[in-house]
Amino acid sequence: MQYALLIYEKLGAYDPFSDTERQALSAEYYALRHDPRIVAGARLQPVETATTIRVQDAQTLVTDGPFADTKEVFGGYFVLEADNIDAAIELAARCPAARLGGSVEIRPLVELPS
């Protein structure tokens, strides 16, 4: 089965950290990315770089900012291959965001016919 780990970060979670500490946190994500069970992953640039698109009455509406103003912001994702959800839970718990006021949502991917 494939699972998506959707990483939500608490706004401003990294503010209290020094550069060295932030590098250490990035290193944790880097290590996770290279766990043999992880098949894909990416970190998104900060929420200030977000642009949101909606289409209403055939008109494309473009907004500066994320889809909604939330306390937790989508920051990145991993895709992992595993037999069951316990592996996903273990990896999700190791994401720094989860212990720094954010959360990680685990969702199985829809299996497409090969």
Binding site: D83, N84, I85, D86, I89, P108, E111
Partner: protein, 374 residues
């Protein structure tokens, strides 16, 4: 049997259907052909074959492929097949944290406790349709989310245990209400858990608690009528089992951790003594209340306080609780009001309790109390 099939087939509903079919075939064939030497293995093999037949008709390519792969495995000779006891794996599957708490409890009662959906609904004071939906959704979630059929690894085991214990206690209580085989099953499963986790005080606490309650089982009714603890014929108590409960409790207390089940077991054991040390019982209920924040525990604490000699203080506690749909709230109030001489109010409270009780024995008990008021 269901457990080993779920393990084999990886699908709850498929396993349940296959089991039902196998039993139906057995009911038809065994009276005619005689019972096989190894009935368990016969049933499991038959159920597996039914499931594989069904797979052939199955439309989902994925399900078909998986099941036919299993069919290709060499068939074990029926006589030598040992049906593995995978009930613990099933227990941890049903109680997995990725399932909502109420789903965990319902699923375990269904798969391991042998209760019908209606019986589970009654135990939780919900409508049968609600419970049916809850079970259906839970099974769908197990499949969709990929919840494993496995005993958790050692570092996860203690935390996964809490829900399992709660469920066992619920099974025991349903059994304690009349279906004795369920109580025995709950005790049996708890003993297995003790063997697996000998240093978890709460497992010992739960076992001691259940042994204690179960030991008084035969004294709880007389000629079909309810008998209160104070009036019970102690010669009907299983004294060796109470002694067993005591030593199990001591092991639990010796481990140093005082969780809710250990405290409840201590209360139960104290109540087997004559006379009962009610102030000590009240103190233990206070400790339990702090641990669980449960209004039902407060209700029991009030009873202990009344027995210790303060019915007025007890009534004050009972009146502060928001348990309007709970029959024992009203029966307790009624008893306290009776002791305080407020008979009209006591009558109304007994009537309210009667409207809420489902057990005929309890209804008759309350009726007798009402009659005694006159």
């Amino acid at each position: 049997m269901l457990a080993s099939l779920i393990g084999f087939l990886g699908d709850f509903d498929l396993a349940e259907d296959a089991v039902q079919e196998a039993f139906a075939i057995a009911a038809e064939r065994w009276p005619r052909d005689g019972t096989p030497n190894n009935p368990g293995a016969w049933l499991v093999t038959t159920a597996r074959n039914r499931a594989i037949d069904r797979a052939r008709r199955e439309r989902t390519l994925e399900a078909k492929t998986r099941l036919l792969q299993m069919a290709a495995e060499p068939d074990l000779p029926i006589e030598n097949t040992v049906v593995p006891d995978e009930r613990l794996e099933l227990m941890f599957l049903c109680c997995h944290p990725a399932l909502a708490k109420d789903a965990q409890v319902a699923l375990t009662l269904r798969a391991l406790g042998g209760l019908t959906t209606d019986e589970i609904a009654r135990a939780f004071l919900v409508a049968p349709e609600t419970m049916k939906r809850r079970l259906t959704r839970a099974k769908a979630r197990i499949k969709a989310v990929g919840i494993p059929f496995r005993v958790p690894s050692e570092h996860l085991l203690p935390e996964r245990l809490g829900a399992v214990l709660a469920v066992l206690y619920l099974i025991f209580n349903e059994g304690y209400g009349g279906r004795i085989d369920l109580a025995a099953e709950a005790i049996r499963l708890c003993r297995v858990l003790v063997a697996l986790l000998p240093l978890e005080s709460e497992v010992l606490g739960l076992l001691a608690l259940m042994l204690c309650h179960d030991a008084r089982r035969n004294a709880r009714f007389k000629d079909g009528e309810l008998v209160l603890l104070a009036d019970q014929d102690r010669t009907l108590w299983d004294m060796p089992q109470i002694a067993d409960a005591r030593s199990v409790l001591e092991c639990g207390l010796g481990l140093g951790q005082r969780g809710p089940y250990v405290v409840q077991a201590a209360i139960a054991v104290l109540q087997t003594e004559a006379p009962v040390d009610w102030p000590q019982v009240a103190a233990l209920y206070a400790e339990l209340s702090a641990l669980t924040k449960s209004p039902v525990v407060e209700l029991n604490r009030a009873v202990a306080i009344a027995e210790a000699g303060s019915p007025k203080a007890a009534l004050a506690i009972v009146d502060s609780l928001a348990l309007d749909d709970y029959p024992y709230q009203h029966s307790t109030r009624a008893e306290l009001l009776r002791r305080l001489g407020r008979l009209t109010e006591a009558r109304h409270a007994y009537q309210r309790a009667m409207a809420l009780t489902t057990s005929p024995a309890e209804q008759r008990f309350l009726t007798r109390r009402l009659v005694e008021l006159q």
